[in-house]
Structures are given as structure tokens and as C-alpha cells.
């Protein structure tokens, strides 16, 4: 059966594949026929993702993309790729007056600088073949909206949006496409890193009241967007921010 969304014969690198959205993307892409290169900091959790992948030929490369040596090793050990999903990221909640050098450098290193340097090196070392698809998991925060306490996170994601545009323009010559996905809230382990600030009740409010489609997102909602952007179905799509938010930014 004809399926323009198939990822058969495509090798896709997914960062932050040890949990949350990254794990969901890796698993769903494997169901669409892709061979996965999954990376993240925790080998134990990468193994959990690995065992949930369908098909075979997948590989694990443990790496922390906030560390330059890890980026270099990841690129050198990686097979030839047809796609890359820059998903690894952290949240950080703090008001503007309490931003300090350590806090802003930490989040920019992981959410912005690491993914950009990884992408750059993959291209330089010709690990991304022509007609590849590069996807960034960004956020509606910093690209469309923001929220109290999210300024540093918004900063890190807004910068990705700028990178996507510039890179999309440059790489169009080799028919490589660069896009981002901007999800609203997808409750995963990442929330536990948010200072445990929100109570269960607050999360419930956030989850149901602000979403016209009546619920928050799941990793699979985001993975389906990634499948579209990685597949030949989106051959004429580059430089976009694909908002996947259950209607959140409408209200």
C-alpha cells in the first residue's frame, strides 16, 4: 500500500531518546520502518527505549550533547543518516530577576548550543546525506507564547526557531530540510525537573482548561509530527515551526 509517511530505508538519529517525547519519537519512527540511532545520557534508560523499538538494525550511542567531546564521539560513531531529531532538552523555572550566568548557560548549552553544534558537525562530517530532514523539538514557549517563569526556556527555544530558518535556507541547496515542532504541554519526566513547582491540581487545570481539544499532549502526538517532517510526505516543507498544541495558542 502506498504510504508517503513511510520511513523505510531511512536511518534517523534521535537525541534525548532515553525518555519522554524522544522515546516516543524513536518508538513511533521504528513502527514506520526507520532504523534508529538513539542517544541520551542514561544507558540504562536508552536500553529501555531500545527494547521497545520495532524491527532491527537500531543502535545506541550514549552521549551528553552539552559536552563537546560527546558530540564529536556521537558524530564519529554514527552511521550515515537520513534524518536527525534534536529533542534533548531541559526546562528551567525562574523569574527574570534571578537569572544568573550559571542558569542561563546551563539551559542554553543543553537546549540550544548542543543541538546546533551537533547538527553542524553532522553536516561537516557528511553524516547527514543529501535530502535529509533535520527536526528540532522546540516549543510554543519562546516561539508563539511564553509564561511567567519560563523566560530562560523561551530564550533557548526562540533561538532554535532562528537557527531553523537560517539553516533551512542554506541547506535547501542539497535538498536537506530543517524544521521545528512546537508542542504545548506534554507531561513527561521533564516536568519533575521544573522545581516540582506545580501541584497536581494546578497541572490538572493546565491540562484541561486551556486546551480546546480537551487534553494535553502525548509523546505520540509529537512523534506523528516528527514522522511527517522526516518522511517524503513533507518534501516541500522547510523552515517551519509546526505547532502541535491541541489548540492551546488559539484561546
Amino acid at each position: 500500500m502506498f504510504n508517503p509517511f513511510s520511513l523505510k530505508d531511512k536511518t534517523i538519529l534521535v537525541t534525548g531518546a532515553s525518555s519522554g517525547i524522544g522515546r516516543g519519537i524513536a518508538i513511533e519512527c521504528s513502527k514506520m520502518g526507520a532504523k534508529l540511532v538513539i542517544t541520551g545520557r542514561s544507558l540504562e534508560r536508552l536500553n529501555e527505549t531500545f527494547s521497545a523499538l520495532e524491527g532491527n538494525g537500531h543502535v545506541i550511542i550514549q552521549a551528553d550533547i552539552s559536552i563537546q567531546e560527546d558530540i564529536e564521539r556521537l558524530v564519529s560513531e554514527s552511521p550515515l543518516l537520513n534524518g536527525c531529531v534534536n529533542n534533548a532538552g531541559i526546562p528551567k523555572i525562574s523569574t527574570v530577576g534571578f537569572i544568573n550566568r550559571d542558569s542561563i548557560e546551563e539551559i542554553l548549552n543543553i537546549n540550544t548550543i548542543g543541538p546546533i553544534l551537533l547538527t553542524s558537525l553532522l553536516l561537516k562530517k557528511r553524516k547527514l546525506q543529501k535530502q535529509s530532514s533535520i527536526v528540532f523539538i522546540s516549543s510554543i514557549s519562546g516561539v508563539v507564547v511564553s509564561n511567567t517563569g519560563e523566560t530562560q526556556y523561551s530564550t533557548s527555544k526562540g533561538a532554535i526557531s532562528g537557527f531553523v530558518k537560517g539553516a533551512a535556507l542554506e541547506l535547501a541547496r542539497q535538498k536537506t530540510r530543517v524544521n521545528s515542532i512546537c508542542p504545548a504541554l506534554v507531561p513527561t519526566e521533564i516536568l519533575e525537573l521544573s522545581n516540582s513547582f506545580f501541584s497536581e491540581e494546578q497541572l490538572k487545570d493546565k491540562m484541561y482548561e486551556k486546551y480546546p481539544l480537551g487534553r494535553v499532549g502525548t509523546p505520540e502526538d509529537i512523534a506523528n509530527g516528527a514522522i511527517y517532517l522526516l518522511s517524503d510526505a513533507s518534501s516541500w516543507v522547510t523552515g517551519i515551526n509546526l505547532v502541535i498544541d491541541g489548540g492551546f495558542t488559539l484561546a
Partner: protein, 75 residues
């Protein structure tokens, strides 16, 4: 840090509420200016000045500034 110093730190995160409105028995969540921004500022200043991490539950489990201070001291 003693209670009075904490109250000074606490009141410093508010722009409009006069400093003399902050007492040990002030029901801080009933202040007009208490919202997500001021609560995040309290979390941040406690982290920076006292190197203690408070969470949303600490606000739910305290009513007065003194109760919040005691909760923080117990961490």
C-alpha cells in the same frame, strides 16, 4: 537567617505592597500582589539566599509568613 530577616527578604519580592504589611502572621496568599510571579520570586530568592528548595506544596501547607519560614527552616 532569622524570621525578621526572612520577612524583609519576602517583602522585597513585592513591588506594590508596602513593607509594613508584612508581619509574621500575615496571610501572604491573601495579598493582592500574590500571584505566580511573586511566588516564583519567593522560590528563587529562597534558593539563592538560603540555598533551600521550596515547592508549590510548601505554599499550600503554610498560611502565614512565619509558617512558611518554619517550613523552610525544617528543610
Amino acid at each position: 537567617m532569622n524570621l525578621n530577616e526572612f520577612i524583609e527578604l519576602f517583602s522585597g519580592q513585592f513591588d506594590k505592597t508596602p513593607a509594613d504589611q508584612f508581619k509574621p502572621n500575615t496571610l501572604y496568599k491573601e495579598l493582592d500582589e500574590w500571584d505566580s510571579l511573586t511566588s516564583l520570586s519567593i522560590i528563587a530568592v529562597v534558593d539563592e539566599e538560603l540555598e533551600k528548595r521550596i515547592v508549590g506544596a510548601d505554599f499550600r501547607n503554610s498560611n502565614t509568613i512565619e509558617e512558611l519560614f518554619e517550613l523552610i527552616q525544617s528543610k
